[in-house]
Structure formats: structure tokens, C-alpha cells
């Protein structure tokens, strides 16, 4: 089957009087692996379920799959495959029966059912376990059965609600690769909901960050990480230092002056006014004691002196918290190497950052 696009326009949805989705506009391209990311309660599941036809009827808006507006269709007429977070395998049926269910509902001839169930189970590597009951399977196996059960009917799109959240860490990494392989093989447009940024970053072609029923930003994982459009997205994806201040003109160029006196270089075309400076801890590096100067700011590097507040060893990095002279607190990450000199609490240090690593947000 051809990959289908999903188009959502101005979708509003409420549980009783609480509005949970507030005007969602989204286009998901054919064959894309798309992720919904957002904090708990942001409406990810609600949006996904709305696409499958579950939950309250949207009060406004359109949901188009391929060329068809499905917003008015009941779930069983949408042909949208959904994998549930708890898998929802029917305990009274064997694996085989579970997978055959959707085909039987579609009145597919018996011989074809057998062939397709076998093919689907083969695809997820569980053909030998076809006669087991769901309760006799491990979590990862149940996950695969749920997947097979959904893809065997060749749905127009595939929806997954936190499909990996019930698995342990190692299995999760393995399953997400498998999921991606399968998606590529089938070429099916896929949306999956996750809490886990790493999961979204490693698998999604593009993703949408939701908060409070509103899409905050859509883009590739790297775009969102490097160029967040607001403080929420910046703070939600990884750690970010944020400093409040103003962009001012200085000596024919532009600099950012923090409320406490920190000075940061900014691109010359940045407009003046109230702003936030955002930069990631790993883009800040430690310098030898002593030579912070505004001179360097104009060359595209800013350095500031401070004192170590604490040092945390996180495995691949050491994360320092520094208090700058103006009492501003920033995080900086140093890659960890064996035998490295670790600054102790109270030691003086100088941190530097490049202009292109600083992002200015107005808000």
C-alpha cells in the first residue's frame, strides 16, 4: 500500500469542559517516522487517540488521512493501526488468534489469513510462539505480537502510544531499532508517542513537541535541539542555560547584556530589546585561570570568571555548576577522560562560549 500523509487542521478537543487540545495544526508526510514528545498531561495520547477515533469527538477541526477526512468515522472504519501502551493483547486468544483477528473482521479468505498471519509473525520473529497465550510471553514478545497484530491488516498509518515504555532499558534500545527497521521496510507513515527524548532523537524523522495541548514546535530532532523557538522547547530538550537580559548595540555590533552583567556575543543582525540568551552546557568550555575579557567578545567568544559550586560525575561527562561574579549560575559539561583534573567546590574557573552556540529568544 502507498504511504499516506496525515493532515490535522485546527483540531480542538475537550473532556467535558476542560480543553485538552487547543488548535492543533500538523502535517505528517507520507512514509515519515514522526514522534510526539511532551511532558505528562500535554495531550500526546489524546491527539494520537483522536487520529484513531478514540476519546471524545473533536469539537472543531479536521483529520485527513490520505485524501479522506476521517474525523467523522468510527474507529472501526478508519483503518488506522494502533499499538497500545499495555499492548492490549486479548488474554483469551492465542498469539495466532490475536494476529488473525483484524483479518477475520475484514472477511479475508481463510487461506490468505493463514499466509498473512504467518508472514506477520515471521516479520517480528515470533512464528514459533504462535500457539502460546499472551500471558506466557515476555514483555518484549508481547510488544512484538501487538505490532504484528496491527501491521497484519495493512493499516494506512501506524500509531504507537509509548510502545516501549514497559520494557527494560536494553530491550528498549533493541526494540526501537527493530521498530525503525520494520517501519522502513513497510514504508508506513508512523506516529509514536514517547516521553523519552533519546528514543525520539534516534528514531524520528521529525517530531512535534507538545505542551498544554498546543504544538510548540515541529522539526527534525537536531533542528529542535539547536534552534528551539521558545524557552519551553529549549528547556524540555536537554539541559539549557538561560540568562535574562537585553540585546544592545555596542561599537557597531550587537551584544547581549545579562541582567547581572554577563556579556555575550550575538549575531550582528539580532534586533535590540528584552531577550533571553540560551546555550547548552556542552558548548561551554573551561579555560585556564585568569584571562576573561570583553575584548574576546567581539571576536565571537565570551568568557566569564566564576567559582565552582559543585561537580557531578555523569559517566561520559563531568557537569560543573559555576556561580559567575554576578551571581548568575550556569552549567557546563566537560568530557570525561581518565586522569583528568577535576575542579573542586570553591575553586576559581573561567568558562568560554562561542557566539554561534548562543541562541537569543524573545519572550
Amino acid at each position: 500500500m502507498q504511504s499516506q500523509r496525515i493532515l490535522i487542521e485546527d483540531l480542538h478537543l475537550a473532556f467535558g469542559s476542560t480543553e485538552v487540545l487547543k488548535g492543533i495544526d500538523l502535517e505528517i508526510r507520507p512514509g515519515e517516522f514522526f514522534a510526539f514528545l511532551g511532558p505528562s498531561g500535554s495531550g500526546k495520547s489524546t491527539l494520537l487517540r483522536a487520529i484513531a477515533g478514540f476519546g471524545p469527538k473533536p469539537s472543531r477541526g479536521r483529520i485527513v488521512i490520505g485524501e479522506e477526512d476521517v474525523a467523522g468515522l468510527p474507529p472501526w472504519e478508519r483503518n488506522v493501526g494502533m499499538v497500545f501502551q499495555n499492548y492490549a493483547l486479548w488474554p483469551h486468544m492465542t498469539v495466532w488468534k490475536n494476529v488473525a483477528f483484524g483479518l477475520e473482521e475484514r472477511c479475508v479468505p481463510k487461506a490468505e489469513i493463514a499466509a498473512r498471519v504467518e508472514e506477520a509473525l515471521q516479520l517480528v520473529g515470533l512464528l514459533e510462539l504462535a500457539q502460546r497465550r499472551p500471558s506466557q510471553l515476555s514483555g518484549g514478545q508481547q510488544q512484538r505480537v501487538a505490532l504484528a497484530r496491527t501491521i497484519v491488516v495493512r493499516p494506512r498509518v501506524l500509531l504507537l502510544d509509548e510502545p516501549l515504555s514497559n520494557l527494560d532499558a536494553n530491550l528498549r534500545v533493541q526494540m526501537r531499532r527493530e521498530l525503525l527497521r520494520l517501519q522502513r521496510e513497510l514504508g508506513i507513515t508512523t506516529i509514536f508517542v514517547t516521553h523519552d527524548q533519546e528514543e525520539a532523537n534516534t528514531t524520528a524523522d521529525r517530531m512535534a513537541v507538545l505542551d498544554q495541548g498546543v504544538i510548540q514546535q515541529v522539526g527534525t530532532p537536531m533542528e529542535l535541539y539547536d534552534a528551539p523557538v521558545n524557552l519551553f522547547v529549549a528547556g524540555f530538550l536537554g539541559s539549557a542555560n538561560r540568562i535574562r537580559g537585553r540585546v544592545v548595540a555596542e561599537a557597531g555590533s550587537r551584544v547581549f547584556r545579562g541582567a547581572g552583567g554577563v556579556v555575550l556575543p550575538v549575531p550582528p543582525d539580532e534586533a535590540e530589546g528584552e531577550a533571553w540568551a540560551i546555550f547548552r552546557p556542552q558548548n561551554v568550555r573551561l579555560l585556564e585561570e585568569g584571562d576573561a575579557s570583553t575584548e574576546k567578545v567581539r571576536q565571537g567568544v565570551a568568557c566569564f570568571a566564576g567559582k565552582v559550586l559543585r561537580a557531578e560525575f555523569l559517566g561520559s561527562i563531568i557537569r560543573y555548576a559555576l556561580v559567575l561574579e554576578d551571581e548568575e549560575e550556569i552549567l557546563l559539561d566537560e568530557p570525561h577522560r581518565p586522569g583528568q583534573h577535576v575542579l573542586r567546590e570553591g575553586e576559581r574557573a573561567t568558562a568560554c562560549i562561542d557566539a554561534q552556540a548562543v541562541r537569543i529568544l524573545r519572550q
Partner: protein
Amino acid sequence: MMLAAQGRMQWGAAATGLSVLLVLLVFFVVPVAKVFYVAFLDAQTGELTLVNFLDFFRTSLFRESFFNSLYVALMSVVVATIIAVPLAYFTTRFNFTGAALIHTLGVIPLIMPPFVGAVAMQMLFGANGSINLLLDEWFGFTIPFMEGLNGVILVESIHYFPFILINLSASLSNIDRAMEEAAQNLGAHGFRLFRRVVFPLAMPGFAAGAALVFLKVFDDLGTPLLLNVNNMLAPQAYLRISSIGIADPMGYVISVILVVFSLFSLWVSFLATRGRDYASVQKGGGGLMKRDLRTWEKVGAWAVIVLILIVVLSPHIGLLLLSFGTIWSFSVLPDAFTVKHYQEVFTTAWPYIANTLLYAGLAALLDVILATAIAYVVWRTNLPGRQVLDYLGTAAVAVPGVVLGIGYLRMFHDFNVPLVNEPLASWWVIIVVALMIRRLPYALRACTAALQQVSVALEEAAQNLGAGRFSTVRRIVVPLMAGGIAAGFVTAFATAAVELSAVLILVSKESDAPLAYGIYVYMQTAAGRGPGAALGVLAVIIVGVATYLSHRFVERTRAEREAAGRQAATGAA
């Protein structure tokens, strides 16, 4: 020293377990075994033989009774299902204000056993009852609701349908909503969805309820006797023993058949539920999708419920009418109303009431003591063979009152109680013992549930601070189980207060008789129906109050537990 204490405690638990076992052996296992033994005994030669069973199936009355009992039990399951399924469906499927009403129906078999309402039902639905008089007058035809076996089926299913309702509702509301959504997502809806996913998932609950109805009806003695339907198994057993005597083997053969079929129905329900603890596989829970009813659907739903409600409450309504009516015969309603039946009951029937309170109270007390001991030994010690106590305590469900009564007569008729100088079989205490064994399963279920809610860590904390096992039980376990124990006591009390079948066999003189017996005796004669009904109303009130109290105990413990849970949660945060 610690080790010595441990050893002593293990010894104490063993002593407790053994005493309980002894009680169960003497008053349950051996009498029932005796009944089985006698059934296979040649009355003349004293040899083991199958001839009694051959005689049984050669006698056409017994054959007929056997098939009648089977037919009545199966049809009662069918009728009860027809009543229960729509009710369960309404409450679990829709946001329906009638749901609370439906849930209250669930207590009906507890507060009024079928035999109490049987005669009242005859007055309402019998050939010359109110309904048929009206039908005849308006439409010129009548319906044989209460003709022979029909009457037993109607009365039994009206009383016992809640067992199916409760179990079915419970398993429906345990179904993970995602089970249903997954099926819809794959294209199933409407009746197919129900048949392929919802119904199979609810099946274990239905089977458990249906088995219970089958067993209760198959074993019931009072209802057929009062409806004058004697060609069924339990009445035949009773009549043989009471008219021919305890030497007649037929009573024993029938007892064996009753027990075997009871066990069979439990076994079927076990098969239906085994390996289908679906709740553990379904993680979400939360019940099926509920939707609001449209206006006309609401009207329809209410109509169905009101109709069912009227039918279900008709024994109670009939009983009230009967108790306040003067003469009620060939008329829709009694000729006039009076309180004289109640006056009569209050002047002459005190012994019945006093006996009931004494017997049921003692039996329930013994039940919770036994049940707590069994629960503790089974769940908190590692004595070898401790499961046997649990099995025995639960197995009493499968032994009808008639069978236990016959067993006691046979076992204890020549055992003279010292000092009292009376055979144990005709001493009033034997009634208490019978009630105790019959109601032990109820108390055991309540106490086991209560114990399982007590975290082992709480006991370990006490032991860590130096409490021995006995003082841990006394100071920690029993107080924490108190709500469950109280609920077990009250349930055992309420159901023992209206038990008839064992009582009917074991009451040897009028002065020893409890309420149920009194109701039965009064209801036998046309003149006695009024006072009998008044006594029945009294029994319903006693049992109703007790049931309400038990409900309160359970609710209060739960509320306390939840409050404690919240505290722990906020404390941790």
C-alpha cells in the same frame, strides 16, 4: 533464647492448626464420610455394595426427582441469566443513574432466602394469585408461573440471580478498556466486538456466578417443600429420613448425589476460571467504555429495570401483604389489613427469635475464630499440609444442609452428652455446630481477604521490636483484621439466621427451634400464613440490619485504609 521462642511459636501455631483440624474432622469430614459410607452399605448384610444406587435408579419417583432437580437447577441458571445480563450490561456499559439501584439488588439473596418468600409468591403468581386473577379478568387467560416446577424455578431464580449479576459485573468492570479499543481499531464493533472480545473476557465471572446459582438451587430444601413440590432430590432425602428413619439408605444415596453434583458444579466453574486470571494480564483496568444514554434509551433502560425490580421485589411485597392481610384467597389483594399477626408473633414467637439470635450468634462467633486461625495458619506459617485447612473450610460450600444434618443424626444419635444426658444429635448445640460448619466458608473468605491486606512488614516490625508470634497476632494482626473479621461475623450471622435445611433435620423439639423453622411450620397451614409472614418480615429485618452493618464495617475499614495510604504517600513525598 530467640530461637527457643521461635520454636515455641511454631509449636503454638501447630497446636492451633491441629485443634482446628480436629473440629473440622469431627463435625465435617467424618459425618459426611459416614453418609457416603452408609450409602454404599447393604442395610441387611452390612457389606459394601452398589445395590442402594441401583434401587435408587430403579424407583421411578427417584428417577423423576433426580431429573426434576437437574432441570430446576439448570432452568434457574437460565432464568437468572436472563435477568442478570441486561442489568450487568446497563451498569457497566452506560453512565446510568439506575446503576446504584441495580447494585443494591445484589444483597437480596443474602437478606431473604427463597423459602421465606415462596408462599407469598404463590399468593401473587399462583393459579389463583393476584396476577392471574387480573390476567383472567382483563384478557381471559392465565399463565402457570407457579405450576409445579415452574414455581420453584421462578422463586429460586428471582432470589439467586444476584450471584450472576455481581460476578458478571465484577469481571466486566475489570476488563481493560484498551482490549475493546484494540478490537475496534482492527475493525470490530457492535455485537461482533461483544461476542469475540467482551463476552469471552467476562466468561469466568459469569461461570462462577452460574455455578453458585446451580449449587444453591440444586441443594435447596425449603423452597420446594413450601411450594409442595416433593418430587425433587433434597425434599426426598428429607422426607425419607423424617418418615422412614435414619436407617433407610435412600436418604444417604440422595445425599451422595447432592454432594457429587455440587462438587461437579464447583469443578466446572473452576475449569471455566482456571488460567484465566485475565485481570493480571490487563494492566489498565478501568472497565469498558461507558457512554451516555440518549433520552429514549434512558426510558427503555428504566422500563426494563423497573420491570425486573418489580419481579425481584415481589416476594418481599407479597410477604408484607401476607403479614398485614386478614384473609387473602381468590382475590387480588387481602380482604382487609390488620396488625394481629404481628401481635401474635410478638406474644408467642419469642423463643424462635431468642433461639435464632443465640444459635446464629454463637455459630458466627465460632466461625470467625476458626476462620482467623485457618487464615493465619495457612498464610503466615509454613506448617506442612496447612492448605488442607483452607480446602476443608471452603469445601463446606459443597455440602448441602440436608446432607450435614443427616450425617449428624447418623453419627451422633447414640452419643450421649455427659451431664446433659441427651444424645448429641438432638441437643440444641448440634444446631449451632451445623450452622457453624455451613457458614464457615463465608467467614473464611472474609478473614482471608482481611489478612491478605495486612502487610507482612507490619508483623515483621513488631517481631523486630521483640514481640513473639502470639503477641504479634494479638496486638497487630487481629486489630488490623478487625474490619474483615466483623464483616465475616455479620455475614455468617445473617445467613445462619435464616438457614433452614440443616435446622429442619436437626430440630428435635419445638422449644429448640429457631426462626427459620418457625416460619416453615407456620407457612404449612393456611391459618398460619399470616403469622409466618410476620415472622418472615422480622427475619428479613434482622438480616437486613446485620447485612447493612457488615457493609458499614467493610466500608469503614476501606476508608481507613485509604486514608492511611494517602498519609503514607504524602509522608513519602
